[in-house]
């Protein structure tokens, strides 16, 4: 299964709407990095509104893809993390401290614009 990546001006938008298995998560990581490379996008929003579980593996893949994109010169914001998911992540001991987040897609785009203008 492939997660669609949409391009909007200089941004890439991704909405994850499936229960992520490990393989799909890894594939997504690769796809996103190639898409950044191809498109020259400077900002990425990954929307997690429909994701109702993030375990330690998925958290690692998401955290890594933020760092990897950053290395390539694109800023990533994670948006829409559900309350139950946030509580579970903290129980797991995963704080994703260096990962930019926003409440929803709209706030995420605002955050990207601010970060990229600085």
């Amino acid at each position: 299964m492939r997660i669609p990546i949409l391009k909007l001006h200089n941004y890439l938008l991704i909405s994850i709407q499936i229960d992520l298995d490990d393989q799909t998560a890894i594939q997504f990581q690769e796809d996103l990095l190639s898409k950044i490379h191809e498109s020259g996008a400077t900002g990425v929003v990954i929307d997690l509104t429909s994701v109702d579980i993030i375990d330690s593996f998925i958290a690692k893949v998401l955290g890594d893809v933020v760092t990897m994109s950053d290395l390539m010169g694109a800023k990533v914001v994670l948006t829409g993390i559900q309350p139950a998911v946030a509580m579970t992540l903290i129980d797991l001991g995963i704080h994703l401290q260096d990962v930019p987040t926003a409440l929803d897609l709209e706030q995420g785009l605002i955050k990207l614009r601010q970060e990229l203008e600085e």
Partner: protein, 133 residues
């Protein structure tokens, strides 16, 4: 309410199958959204450990009752290589697979009860319980 259902863990996709079934059962027992997420996440970690380290095993679910409490018991069993240093795997940040090392200590925090029995060369059995509040 006493029934038991199991999911065999052989392929990577079985991790998703196990947590989906576990979440459905948790929902039927009456757990709220947050506890459903905790339970599904714990199952995901247990099933992934089986897949990564033992290659083959199963995760079983059982609705349980004790006094006036109701809950969900989950048992993850494999006959893999076993865990060499139990105290090490219960430390936050310890991993032999390049992961976050959040797995087992995380599962312990997500659930109310946690028991682990592991013998080298014999396999590992982890039993966790979440009580309905």
């Amino acid at each position: 309410m006493d029934f038991q259902s199991c999911v065999n863990i052989k392929k990577e996709w079985d991790i998703v199958g196990a947590r989906q079934l576990g979440r459905d059962i948790a929902k039927k027992i009456g757990f709220g959204t947050v506890d459903q997420a905790r339970i599904a996440t714990a199952i995901s970690e247990l099933a992934r450990n089986i897949y990564l380290y033992a290659g083959d095993g199963k995760v079983c679910f059982e609705a349980i009752e004790d006094m006036n409490k109701r809950g969900l018991s989950i048992i993850a069993i494999d006959d893999g290589p076993g865990i060499e240093e139990l105290s090490q795997v219960m430390e936050d940040g310890f991993s032999t697979s390049g992961g976050l090392g959040a797995g087992l200590p995380g599962v312990k925090r997500l659930m109310d009860e946690f028991d682990i029995v592991s013998e080298q060369g014999q396999g590992t059995e982890i039993k966790v319980v979440k009580w309905l509040r």
